[in-house]
């Protein structure tokens, strides 16, 4: 089962983990992305997240399906927040539920690595110096390339 939400509202990690539980599940791996105050030594005031409505849901669904084809994963939960967020706010949640831990860990990491490069979201950072769009990180594209070349 795949459940995806793109929303301005906050989410509760505990209740999301609870929603992934069932009798067939022995392992749930989760990732929580949180807005960090310091970025490149500048002090962040806020992040504003925008997305391509329609395409972002499809892109996340495709990534989740790829993970479920690669590993025996029962359920995937993805939540990505949009709008204005401030330091310590939740920004993204990925949960992967499986019978065993390896599929849950690998699936969760795979989904996050592909979310960074293959889902149409953009961040603008507000600092004292003004607001600027964030550039894509080389480490994000190389993380995805690692999966594609078999370096897991």
């Amino acid at each position: 089962m795949i459940k995806i939400n793109i929303q301005p509202e906050d989410f509760d990690v505990t209740s999301e983990i609870k929603s992934l539980r069932c009798r067939a599940i022995g392992a749930i791996a989760t990732f929580s992305g949180i807005v960090r105050e310091n970025s490149d030594s500048k002090s962040l005031i806020s992040l504003t997240l925008e997305h391509y409505p329609g395409m972002s849901e499809k892109a996340l669904d495709k990534i989740a399906r790829q993970a479920m084809q690669e590993w025996p994963i029962e359920s995937v939960r993805i939540i990505h927040r949009i709008g204005r967020l401030t330091p310590e706010d939740n920004i993204v949640f990925v949960g992967c539920a499986s019978a065993h831990r390896h599929a849950a860990f690998d699936g969760c990491r795979f989904i996050m690595d592909f979310l960074k490069t293959d889902a149409p979201f953009w961040k603008a950072e507000e600092t004292k110096q003004g607001t600027a769009w964030v550039s894509q990180r080389e480490t994000d594209t190389s993380a995805k390339q690692g999966w594609l070349s078999g370096k897991k």
């Binding site: 395409m55 972002s56 920004i91 979310l115 490069t117 889902a119 149409p120 953009w122 550039s135």
Partner: protein, 83 residues
């Protein structure tokens, strides 16, 4: 065709979508970007460095040599930075 712009591509152009009727010479994403860049100073700035712009056709990422047709939903945006 309907064209959507996101993030700084939209900021340069000044609006988030437009309907364009392209000349028949526009057959690919890169030809469309070249055509659009002549529409205004903002468009020119948005498409100044084509290596910095990504595109989607009908909500799928595509390369710049991909064919476009009048009924397509096109989008131009910077490399993604979610998560």
């Amino acid at each position: 065709m309907r064209i959507y712009y996101f993030a700084w591509v939209r900021d340069h152009i000044g609006y988030s979508q437009e309907d364009i009727h392209c000349p028949e010479t526009v057959k690919t994403i890169s030809q469309l970007a070249a055509f659009l860049s002549q529409q205004s100073a903002g468009h020119a700035k948005a498409f100044d460095d084509l290596n910095a712009v990504r595109a989607a056709i009908n909500q799928e990422f595509v390369n710049s040599d991909k064919s476009v047709k009048d009924t397509d939903e096109i989008a131009f945006f910077p490399p993604v930075t979610g998560g």
